[in-house]
């Protein structure tokens, strides 16, 4: 066997071993780090399988469900399947201060875990930027239309 052929064989062998090792590690870690993207109904349908893994729960904030306790920094609300009154919803607890856009009926994604106690513990709260941005409609308030002292008087509405 010429040195070139031998070297090449050794190289190919080493590469094959390294590549399969890497593949095993990559796919193994993939399973552990998957984040499931479910709506409340889909999550409930999973039954016991939903307890444990990291879940991104997507839905809308149920109207009138927001309770924010600033002293203990605890936010409770329900994520519902849709805006209808009778939509399936799931209680969520978060330790995060709700962001400015957080309000009733807005689309949210919460990342966290679901437990058999029936509470979704969220460690990340994301408010859906509405992808189709549009000017506020007639009569619709901009969320800051409250009494904030104007910094530059002229031009402020």
């Amino acid at each position: 066997m010429s040195p070139t052929t031998r070297n090449r064989l050794i190289l190919v062998g080493a590469l094959a071993i390294a590549a399969s090792g890497l593949a095993v590690i990559a796919f193994g870690n993939l399973g552990e780090n998957l984040v499931y993207y479910w709506s409340p109904q889909e999550m409930l349908d999973q039954g016991d399988k939903a307890y444990g893994p990291t879940i991104r729960l997507g839905g809308v904030v149920k109207e009138g469900s927001i309770e924010w306790d600033a002293d203990s920094a605890e936010l409770r609300f329900r994520v519902a399947e849709g805006v209808e009154e009778d939509a399936v919803s799931v209680p969520v607890r978060s330790r995060e201060t709700p962001p400015q856009m957080f309000r009733d009926n807005i689309g949210v994604v919460v990342e966290g875990t679901w437990s058999s106690a029936g509470l979704f513990e969220s460690n990340r709260l994301m408010v859906n930027h509405s992808n189709e941005y549009r000017p506020p409609e007639e009569g619709e308030e901009k969320s800051w239309d409250q009494t904030v002292s104007a910094a530059s008087g002229p031009g402020a509405p």
Partner: protein, 683 residues
């Protein structure tokens, strides 16, 4: 004829020129008709000209608020400030594909002009391949992503560009840089595929191939870093990298292009790894197309998904064609590109570059698996999943550490075969510096295996790199009695590539240290305050002084006044994290306040506020050394500029394995030179 029709006519001229040039170039090149190169060159210039004109027409439309053009009606508005009108060319899908066409035309015309005197057959095939790519994009602009569609009933005003794009000046620079990087990969792709089609690639092509890739690489690098900076300065979640599919999309071609830049050196000096090197050039291009598909078709739910459109299937077909073409060419023509040498010793420069390439390949694989898995899971198993950042962090960290180690070891090793005892001697000082660094960090109370090993290796690489840079200069000063600066410039111009490459290495070390420090030693807190109350983070005291409202030409804002007393008490200042309200959007876009110093950034974003009760909530972080990431950009750009700066043409037949004497008498390596190859790295 309206502006829209004119623009569309120009796009059709582009389609015609590209198609004609692709056919003529490929057929003429393969049938060995050198005279056809003229036609391919002409078609290239025509395509570039048509694209330039079409882009100018669109700019005129944007600037004159011609809402009869669909794209202008979609992203323009009368109130938009002029500078944002200009950049809204790339603020949405159709415009950005049109802009892509302009950049592609520019690259192809530059390539055609600079290499018009090269071997005409090879040039014809290379241009034919590149113009085939241009044909696809021209068709895309003419069909699925047509920005020039004329509206029968134009609106009187438009919504204006996406608020996120108007929110920070970096959005003006980041997309063009990224495009210059993405599109630039077309040139190496064309040259490499031509090599495969013809079954040979001359060594004389390796220099241009490397320089074109380096050009695209530096733009891609700048684009990626600026993208991280933009996310940091705008999105307010306190980070610059989230392993978002869109970020990964730009990172994958960066990895393969970086591997390519290193493996060309082996091909050039040792005439090995030919097929591998060409495969990397092909992979870089295919990955940029994959990245564009992922970014632009909206297949991922991410912050960039505002550009959803029906171009997805078109891209998928193109990716399919590319993969089939590349893989079958590699399989059938690849065996023609045989190595003319083999690795003789495990301790050599070529082995270190080979290992470097394997590490880059492994990284590409890991990131690709994590990025594509959600797509595959959803399309095959109807499961909606995403891959969490821990997957990427855990699996890529060991490779980053290995990479840093190789960045130190590689430059110390000579081509061919290293002298073991000499290598050990050279190893001592850098290794000592590494241990000392780790010791000092531990003494200052820093913990964490990965962060400390990155710091240690950073010292290791820095010492080696500086030694490799400085010792030849010192030798020149001694042997030729030159002044420091004369010797420095002499040494740099004599071995541009090595000199530039090492400067780039130093920039990368800076990024590695900054990333390790800012992610391992981050601290975070949140606070909800009434006026007069304060909170503290890492010794920084912040007192809330109230909310103010203000107005700028294109937006209104609410800012929270935070009086900051930095750690140590000196230099009180006002921080004003704020939320911006745009005409076109109901939701605000935040701007965090950053107090940046060399040592650390204090980063505060306004999370929520209540105007009536004057209560505000804040998210605050400290990131040690994070600004070093952005500061590495001038270093990277400077190093790359040195490396790609055109060299005087050398006499042919000298790219062998022997030292290149460069006409004059070869410089004698001094006895204490760091490595025998110090001055020979250039080619």
């Amino acid at each position: 004829m309206s502006l829209g029709h004119l623009g569309y006519a120009l796009v059709l001229v582009g389609v015609a020129a590209a198609t004609f040039g692709a056919v003529v170039g490929l057929v003429g090149g393969l049938r060995r008709r050198p005279a056809t190169l003229r036609w391919a060159l002409g078609a290239t210039y025509a395509f570039a000209g048509a694209m330039l004109a079409a882009n100018l027409v669109m700019e005129v439309g944007l600037l004159t608020d011609d809402f009869s053009i669909r794209y202008v009606a979609q992203v323009g508005s009368i109130q938009t400030p002029t500078v944002y009108k200009i950049v809204s060319l790339w603020s949405a899908l159709e415009g950005s594909i049109l802009f892509w066409g302009l950049v592609l035309g520019g690259y192809l015309a530059a390539f055609a002009w600079l290499h018009r005197k090269e071997d005409p057959l090879y040039m014809s095939v290379a241009l034919g391949v590149m113009l085939s790519v241009a044909t696809f994009f021209a068709f895309l602009i003419a069909g699925p992503a047509n920005p020039f569609e004329v509206l029968p009933n134009p609106p009187s005003n438009g919504p204006g560009p996406n608020p996120l794009l108007q929110n920070h000046v970096l959005m003006i620079v980041h997309p063009p840089m990224l495009y210059l990087g993405y599109v630039g990969m077309t040139v190496p792709f064309g040259v490499a595929l031509a090599g495969l089609i013809k079954g040979e690639i001359r060594t004389s092509w390796m220099g241009p191939l490397r320089r074109w890739t380096l050009t695209a690489w530096i733009f891609l690098t700048i684009g990626i870093v600026l993208g991280g900076w933009w996310a940091y300065a705008v999105l307010g979640w306190g980070g610059y990298w989230a392993w978002d599919p869109v970020e990964n999309a730009s990172f994958l071609p960066w990895l393969t292009a970086t591997a390519f830049i290193h493996s060309t050196m082996v091909q050039e000096r040792k005439r090995m790894l030919k097929l591998w090197t060409l495969s990397l050039a092909l992979a870089s291009f295919v990955l940029t197309i994959l990245g564009t598909f992922m970014t632009r078709s909206g297949v991922f739910n991410s912050v960039h998904s505002f550009t959803q459109s029906d171009i997805g299937p078109t891209f998928l077909v193109f990716i399919g064609i590319l993969l089939v073409a590349c893989i079958s060419l590699l399989a059938f023509r690849g065996p023609l590109l045989v190595a003319e040498d083999h690795i003789k010793a495990p301790l050599s420069r070529e082995t270190s570059i080979l290992v470097n390439n394997l590490v880059f390949a492994a990284l590409t694989f890991v990131v690709l698996v994590g990025t594509l898995h959600p797509l595959i899971a959803e399309s095959l198993f109807d499961k909606r999943v995403s891959v969490g950042a821990p997957y990427f962090n855990r699996l890529t960290l060991p490779f980053w550490v290995a990479m840093l180690f190789l960045m130190g070891v590689g430059p110390m090793l000579p081509w061919g075969r290293a002298d073991g005892s000499r290598f050990r001697n050279q190893f001592l000082v850098p290794a000592g510096a590494a241990l000392l660094t780790v010791g000092v960090c531990v003494a200052f109370g820093l913990r964490g295996g990965y962060a400390l090993s990155v710091f240690g290796l950073a010292a290791f690489v820095t010492v080696i790199t500086l030694r490799e840079l400085v010792l030849p200069v010192r030798a020149r000063m001694r042997d030729k009695q030159e002044s420091f600066f004369k010797a420095l410039s002499g040494s740099a111009s004599r071995s541009q590539r090595r000199f530039g490459g090492y400067i780039v290495h130093l920039g990368i070390v800076l990024i590695a240290v900054a990333v390790a420090a800012s992610s391992a030693f981050v601290s975070h807190t949140t606070a909800t305050l009434r006026v007069g109350e304060s909170f503290e983070l890492q010794g920084h005291q912040m007192t809330f002084e109230g909310l103010v409202r203000g107005q700028e030409p294109h937006r209104e804002y609410v800012a929270a006044r935070l009086q900051l007393t930095p750690r140590g008490g000196d230099g009180q200042r006002l921080l004003a994290p704020r939320m911006n309200y745009y005409e076109s959007s109901t939701d605000p876009v935040g701007t965090p306040a950053v107090h940046d110093t060399v040592r650390e950034d204090l980063y505060v974003s306004l999370l929520a506020f209540d105007g009536k009760s004057q209560i505000a909530s804040f998210n605050a972080w400290t990131f040690p050394l994070v600004s070093w990431i952005w500061w590495s950009l001038p270093i990277l750009a400077f190093g790359t500029l040195i490396a790609v700066w055109p060299v005087r043409r050398r006499k042919p037949g000298k790219a062998g394995t022997k030292a290149d004497g460069e006409g004059g008498k070869p410089e004698v390596a001094p006895a204490d030179a760091p490595s025998p190859t110090a001055e020979q790295g250039a080619a």
